[in-house]
């Protein structure tokens, strides 16, 4: 049993999936001998060979397009896009092809593919390397959007994503790549998709988040606890399809909800969560649903990014305001 960080867990899951299923291939820029720019695919080429760990030319649209074609013809490609900032040409393939191949052929063809991409800020990266535009991707019917937030969930959710018979965008919170270590048993056990995870239980307030912001949100939970406020922290994990039942159940208990995300506020996925709560839980709410998010600005370069990203202090402050409603 090994203690691994999120990156190590991703590597472990890739290796496990490739060992278990010969139709799984890994492809992307620098995923071969270089092991990926973050080293997520480190060593895979040595274990599985250059036929199954494929360095691609720099052409993101076609990395996804090749994955679509290969998936429809029987492979299970796990394609890497180096940074979310370079993923936008891929949206055409996701919207127009991956997400609808099964539907438009009435089940005759399908796209069991995974598109991995690191996302989010806080690592002092150059421009275009820090955005969180997951809401754009979560708006695509037929495409799952899955985001892990711990080594165990990275391992279990990535295995689930690879085994899933439909396309999955797997967004990796790169700020957390090396942030924590956990014992991850490489037993090939996948976690369930399409469900949230309760990271902390509490009766006073529901904090909803995903990805790297689980860190600040859990820290806020600890901080609030010192003041006698017990927050429930829910990691959404699968943004599309989004199962709101666990969050609704939590809000039924707490009556208060703060949604935390790094992405810009307007049209962010927090808006969808809030709208659903307005539908399902209005009568349970004791306070307005609040959001702690990035601003509707361009993600700043590293010198200002700390001012953009929701901090533990911001989450605590908004949570306290929410608690002030009787």
């Amino acid at each position: 049993m090994a203690e691994v960080d999120i990156l190590g867990a991703i590597n472990l899951a890739l290796s496990r999936a490739m060992t278990d299923d010969p139709s799984v291939i890994v492809m992307g820029e620098d995923v071969g001998i270089d092991g990926g720019v973050f080293r997520a695919t480190n060593g895979l080429i040595k274990s599985f060979g250059a036929d199954r760990v494929i360095d691609t030319p720099i052409a993101e649209a076609s990395i996804a397009g090749v994955a679509v074609g290969a998936a429809a013809e029987g492979l299970k490609p796990v394609a890497e896009i180096q940074f979310m900032g370079f993923l936008y040409p891929v949206i055409d393939q996701l919207v127009n092809h991956a997400g609808r191949m099964r539907n438009r052929t009435r089940g005759r063809l399908s796209c069991p593919m995974v598109l991995r991409a690191p996302f989010g800020g806080g690592v002092h990266a150059p421009e275009h390397h820090s955005e969180s535009t997951e809401a754009m991707l979560a708006h695509i019917p037929g495409v799952r959007v899955v985001i892990p937030s711990s080594p165990k969930r990275a391992y279990g959710l990535l295995l689930a994503a690879i085994r899933d018979p439909d396309p999955v965008v797997f967004l990796e919170p790169k700020r957390l790549y090396h942030a924590m270590k956990e014992e991850v048993v490489d037993d090939g056990e996948a976690l369930a998709l399409d469900t949230c995870f309760t990271l902390r239980e509490g009766n006073d307030l529901t904090l909803v988040t995903w990805g790297a912001m689980t860190r600040e949100t859990l820290a806020a939970g600890d901080e609030l606890s010192k003041a006698g406020i017990e927050a429930e922290v829910i990691d959404v994990a699968t943004l599309n399809p989004y199962d709101d039942s666990m969050i609704a159940a939590s809000v039924l208990k707490t009556g208060r909800c703060v949604i935390v995300h790094e992405a810009a506020r307007s049209g962010g996925f927090g808006a969808e969560i809030a709208a659903r709560l307005a539908d399902t839980s209005l009568m349970s709410l004791l306070a307005p649903i609040a959001r702690v998010t990035g601003y509707d600005t361009v993600m700043p370069l590293p010198r200002l990014e700390a001012h953009y990203m929701p901090s533990t202090a911001r989450v605590v402050a908004v949570a306290r305001q929410t608690m002030e409603y009787a």
């Binding site: 139709s23 291939i25 250059a50 036929d51 199954r52 494929i54 360095d55 691609t56 030319p57 052409a59 649209a61 076609s62 996804a64 397009g65 090749v66 994955a67 679509v68 074609g69 290969a70 998936a71 429809a72 013809e73 029987g74 492979l75 490609p77 040409p89 055409d92 393939q93 127009n96 092809h97 191949m101 099964r102 539907n103 438009r104 052929t105 009435r106 089940g107 005759r108 063809l109 399908s110 019917p141 037929g142 899933d164 018979p165 439909d166 399409d194 399809p241 989004y242 199962d243 709101d244 039942s245 609704a248 659903r276 539908d279 399902t280 209005l282």
Partner: protein, 379 residues
């Protein structure tokens, strides 16, 4: 993927033309034709062209495509089919390409490839369903692995590379064959796909049906390049032109490309020179941007009459047989159209049925709302 050996080798026969210059590469693009516009043969014909029945079959499929096309336009004009892209004048491209393919191959059509699809075994009814706005039209009973038509221009070309990759890695015997238009060669995915297929030496054939027009933008306004086939040179793959209105040539050139692909000798780019005799789609009016005189000139080169003349010269075809064939196909196409028109739409739930392999719990309430015939109310 392992790179092919010898990619760093200097080009053979490099000519030194001075102290400061060294010619490192020389390229040429050939164009192939076996039948003149009047049907008379040029040079030595491929073997299959000496087989009366094989040629008659090619002819029959071109005629069937044209009869289908006429019916589809008629249905659209009378409000019984959706917007439709006519293949008039391009029958030889689809029939030539698809007739060279085997059951092991996979076709990736764009939206004007009804002829190729018919040859592959897609039924007339499925084509009508597809253009009539019913997803079941892409659930082909025949060629189960063939891709559905791709409407976003060039979006399917990387799919062809991907399908070919799956065939190569899976040691499957076939090749992926994509057909696209001249406008697609201006798109990034076109270059990306032929480039990747070249790097990995994939069993793929990319056919560009150059019909002269991308809606209203002429071939000359699309690119300064003399040929579209020469774009293969940039990708380091085989590229050639063929008279796309000569079904014998299209079939032969495609067969050779498939042979290269199957032998592991990599992908090919074929530019088939043809002409779109009709509008871009039923929503287009080509008179806004091109002269009738140009269209009339191209009618003299159209593929169906050309092959008919070839067959007549050999006494392989008669006016009576022509009449009988037209009558037979008119009947078959009308019956398929009637069958399509008599097919009720799917139940509305069908839009949920194939979105995912199994419907996620999160979508159950939306399905239920649809069943109740109303919007989602307050949960």
């Amino acid at each position: 993927m392992k790179l092919p050996a010898g990619t760093e080798k200097p080009v053979e026969g490099a000519v030194r033309s001075g102290a400061e210059r060294c010619r490192v590469a020389v390229f040429a693009i050939d164009c192939r034709r076996y039948l003149e516009t009047d049907g008379s043969p040029v040079g030595t014909l491929p073997d299959f062209a000496g087989d009366r029945d094989a040629v008659r079959e090619l002819y029959a499929k071109m005629v069937l495509s044209r009869v289908f096309d006429e019916k589809a336009i008629a249905l659209q004009r009378t409000g019984r089919l959706g917007t439709y892209a006519s293949l008039l004048g391009e029958e030889a491209v689809g029939v030539g390409v698809a007739s060279a393919m085997s059951d092991n191959d996979v076709l990736l059509p764009s939206f004007r490839e009804h002829a190729a699809q018919l040859v592959r075994g897609v039924s007339l009814k499925e084509l009508f369903l597809c253009w009539g706005g019913d997803e079941r039209g892409s659930d082909f009973v025949g060629p189960r692995r063939d891709f559905p038509v791709c409407i976003p221009v060039a979006g399917h070309l990387p799919h062809a590379a991907g399908a070919a990759l799956a065939m190569k890695l899976g040691n499957k015997p076939g090749a992926a064959v994509a057909i696209t238009g001249d406008g697609a060669t201006s798109k990034g995915e076109f270059y990306e796909a032929i480039n990747m297929a070249g790097v990995w030496q994939l069993p793929a054939v990319f056919v560009v049906a150059n019909n002269g027009w991308a809606i209203s933008v002429s071939r000359a306004a699309q690119t300064r390049a003399e040929t579209l086939a020469q774009k293969a040179i940039a990708a380091g793959i085989h590229g050639e032109q063929v008279d796309g209105n000569d079904v014998v040539a299209v079939r032969q050139v495609t067969s050779e490309a498939l042979e290269r692909a199957r032998k592991g000798n990599g992908p090919s780019l074929i530019e088939a020179l043809t002409y779109r005799l009709g509008d871009h789609t039923t929503a287009d009016d080509a008179r806004r941007y091109r002269d009738d005189a140009e269209v009339s000139r191209h009618w003299k080169r159209e593929p169906v009459a050309r092959l008919r003349a070839f067959m007549m010269q050999r006494n392989w075809w008669s006016k009576d047989e022509e009449q009988a064939l037209l009558q037979r196909f008119s009947g078959e196409v009308a019956a398929a159209a009637d069958d399509y028109l008599a097919t009720p739409a799917e139940a509305p739930e069908a839009m949920f049925a194939h979105l995912y392999a199994s419907l996620p719990k999160a979508l159950h309430d939306q399905l239920e709302a649809l069943r109740q015939g109303g919007d989602l109310g307050n949960g």
